[in-house]
């Protein structure tokens, strides 16, 4: 069975330790931030700014993990590692995989938000 895009126990635990409205706020912040970071990565890739690319990948890795998007977070981490090693040669392919995965994450998070 393929791994779900978002780990539900992580989200449920968040709701249990905070509240549903707060988790909704987190989800909105992540979706907005995620789109921005993906755009920033595309831009830094175009301009060859390795540091900015690494920072955006790092940020995406961190916030997605907090919301239980664990597979997505590992993909972002791979991108961060590439940049950390100083080379963006293999980055375009990875970045497109991350960008392609984002809508499924968004859908899962929104569904969870409406259910909660």
């Amino acid at each position: 069975m393929p791994e779900p895009p978002v780990d539900m126990p992580t989200l449920q635990n968040l709701v249990a330790t905070t509240d549903a409205a707060f988790v909704q706020e987190l989800i909105e912040a992540f979706l907005e931030d995620g789109r921005e970071q993906i755009a920033a990565m595309r831009q830094s890739l175009a301009s060859g700014d390795v540091q900015a690319f690494q920072r955006a990948a790092h940020s995406l890795k961190s916030s997605s993990a907090s919301l239980g998007a664990l597979g997505f977070s590992s993909q972002a981490k791979e991108l961060e590692q590439l940049a950390k090693q100083g080379s963006l040669e293999e980055a375009p392919e990875g970045l497109e995989r991350v960008a392609a995965a984002f809508p499924a994450i968004e859908q899962s998070l929104r569904e969870f938000g409406h259910g909660a």
């Binding site: 987190l26 992540f30 900015a52 690494q54 920072r55 940020s59 993990a65």
Partner: protein
């Protein structure tokens, strides 16, 4: 989640370029009763730290503008910000970066998203350490001159003891018990307060540090924690000033029909073991050793000889003839196997003050 006791609450700054992280950290901290402000990057964080009072900073490493390393570096160069504890917040795969931050002065770290129990424990521990440091700083400010305090605060507190060459001074009020019995408690406390104020002025004026006050007696140290090569000279100058201030004080006392006071001072110089000792409720600069004991014995001996200031041989040598001292009969002091050379420092104006009644 229940709120913790507000007494432990602090004002915290969370620095993170990622909004999800800011929200999560902020929420966790507010649940523990802390008040939280946020900065999105290092530049803004430094601005906010310079403007407001924060008890603790939670600092992200990888940020645009100014990153966590640069913020840490800047914090250590600013005296007002240097003592604010910093906890690094990091991803679990950047522990090598965290180690570097701790080497640079960060206090601790938390992996994001933080486990609530760990968050509470680490913040609590850091705030408690800060509270202790603030208390120690306040104590040092009160007991030392501003220069000594600055020196100490700049170089940090060495909690281990070390040997230093210094002059130890003991001073107390002669016949204080009978004075206290002959007047009201309010007058006695006022007398002590005035007396301590005068003694502190004389001692700190010579770069000394008062490190003990017990009843009507006090102990001071010269040459430590800030080294002064001429510590015997400084100690004796302070002693002369102390006696002089007491004489002036007595003129005021007799004008009000109140009893005059007399003091006795003993000074010894040499090696002492010195260091900051601290517990949760109290922290102070402490000196111990033979030299300290000798100073206490000489102070007691002023009652026998009727001289207000007695010094040991090392102190006398340290004067280099700049201040005259008259050798007294060598004496057997408690705790010393051989007789000890004792010198009296005469007051510049008059013969030694007569001793007050016991």
């Amino acid at each position: 989640m229940e709120r913790s006791h507000p007494a432990e609450a602090g004002h915290l700054l969370v620095v993170d370029d990622n909004k999800v992280n800011r929200l999560l950290l902020g929420r966790g901290l507010e649940q523990h009763g802390h008040s939280v402000e946020f900065a999105e990057n290092g530049v803004r964080a430094l601005e906010m730290l310079r403007e407001g009072r924060f008890d603790l900073v939670l600092l992200d490493i990888m940020m645009p503008e100014l990153d966590g390393y640069q913020v840490l570096e800047q914090l250590t160069t600013e005296p007002d910000l240097r003592d604010i504890p910093v906890i690094m917040t990091s991803a679990n795969d950047e522990l090598d970066s965290v180690v570097r931050c701790i080497e640079m002065g960060a206090e601790d770290f938390l992996v994001k998203p933080p486990n609530p129990v760990l968050l509470k424990a680490r913040i609590g521990a850091s705030l408690e350490k800060k509270r202790l440091r603030d208390q120690q700083r306040a104590l040092i400010r009160r007991f030392a001159t501003p220069e000594v305090a600055e020196e100490l605060l700049a170089n940090g507190f060495e909690l281990g003891g070390k040997y230093v060459n210094a002059s130890a001074m003991f001073s107390d009020i002669r016949g204080f018990t009978s004075i206290a019995e002959s007047q009201s408690p309010t007058d006695t406390i006022e007398l002590l307060n005035t007396y301590y104020t005068l003694m502190f002025d004389a001692i700190s004026g010579q770069g000394g540090t008062v490190n003990q006050m017990v009843g009507d007696g006090l102990m001071a140290i010269f040459g430590a924690p800030v080294p002064h090569a001429d510590h015997p000279l400084r100690a004796v100058r302070a002693a002369l000033e102390m006696v002089e201030l007491v004489q002036l004080f007595n003129q005021g006392q007799s004008a009000q029909g109140k009893a005059p006071i007399q003091i006795g001072i003993g000074i010894a110089s040499g090696r002492v073991i010195a260091g900051f000792t601290g517990t949760q409720s109290r922290a102070t600069y402490t000196c111990v050793g033979d030299t300290v004991n000798l100073a206490a014995r000489l102070e007691a001996h002023t009652k026998v000889l009727g001289h207000p200031i007695l010094i040991d041989e090392n102190t006398w040598q340290g004067l280099g003839g700049e201040i005259p001292a008259i050798e007294q009969e060598a004496t057997q002091l408690r705790g010393k196997s051989a007789a000890v050379r004792v010198f009296a420092v005469p007051l510049p104006t008059a013969s030694p003050e007569p001793q007050g009644p016991r």
